[in-house]
Assembly symmetry: C2
Homo-oligomer: 210 residues x 2
Amino acid sequence: MYRKVSDSTVRRLSLYLRILEDVEDPRGTVSSEDLADQAGTTAAQVRKDLSLFGSFGKRGLGYLVPELSGRLRQILGLDREWRVALVGAGRIGAALFEYPGFRSRGFEIVAVLDHDPAKIGERWGNVTIEDVAHMEEVFAETATQILIMAVPARAVQELVDRAVAAGVRAVLNFAPAQVKVSQDVALKDVNVVMELEALSFTLSQGREGR
Amino acid sequence: MYRKVSDSTVRRLSLYLRILEDVEDPRGTVSSEDLADQAGTTAAQVRKDLSLFGSFGKRGLGYLVPELSGRLRQILGLDREWRVALVGAGRIGAALFEYPGFRSRGFEIVAVLDHDPAKIGERWGNVTIEDVAHMEEVFAETATQILIMAVPARAVQELVDRAVAAGVRAVLNFAPAQVKVSQDVALKDVNVVMELEALSFTLSQGREGR
DNA sequence: AGGTGTGAACACTTTCACAGCA
DNA sequence: TGCTGTGAAAGTGTTCACACCT
């Protein structure tokens, strides 16, 4: 639909939405400068980002908060529910499952899978932990669209390959491994150790990081 | 020490190191192309990244694995131990505390703090959960260098301000809030919802993400 | 021959500056 | 007047291509 939207732009769009959601006056307006201040960027950047998707500001006034947040939700695809499967019911999987921020954004965890016989059958909230061996059936039954991988590094590539073969087109990977997927699959990595290493680098070297 | 090293370069350096650590022949050599394949980048990129820090490859041969990994560890500041304090002993804090990948990289969690009287005094491994009210003393006693914030969004700014005033110069923030710090403090955010939103965007729009 | 190190070309992102609309 | 939307300029990061070393 839209072409050439950079990763950093998408990140900022999420941020703008979060800012709009707890602005003082939810019926009022915000200027690009207001948003920029809160987001830690520049007014020009905000306008450039938004202008990629049309022009929905009022000159001399700014942006109407309800209109802009609605538009951002639509752009980000948050005007619907996403069906998410969590693979890996260990410590990280549990913390993710409990995190309330997903559901409130429309990300519904509809399945939890694990490999460990001791965990299979256990009930978490309103889902039962399934055997990862039956991944394909579970994804079909639950109409899974997004995969969260919280398994050990050595297991992740094979499981992702199976999930992709079963039709999943978006993966959020917590395993510290470089997963290879074809171009038509969206993949994001979350790697806390890498973030710490970036801090370590900045502390060790001159001060230019952020 | 080194100037103008981009964020993406630092990220890749971490990745190169991880790749080197589980290369088949730990006494052998790797070429920039080998590394690039594993890291999902190009050989030229690998050479550019490394050349920022000197030239330690052998023409016609590649890089000696032990030498390069040692050098990368040094560049990233991983040739020492970092003393980390964890603020927030909730679900996310607990998952982070248990994660073995930190210690193996030299990040030692030397203090855990929380606000909840029910948790204060509890023992996690070899640390006792302290009252966040005593943050300054705890940081001084433990010589904390890096802060991990796993607290609710509303609490994070004030706590980071206090930590910075107490001398901390690096913060890894898990709270979904935009924390403001002065230029000389390194700050990284980990925001899983934002990553999911980026996936949602890619799924909703045309296929150009990754 | 094989593979590094690097200037130059290219691509992408951010900032500037201002025309134009409410 | 106030603030958006946007071409053009500046800045940054990536890729190319090749000289050079082993």
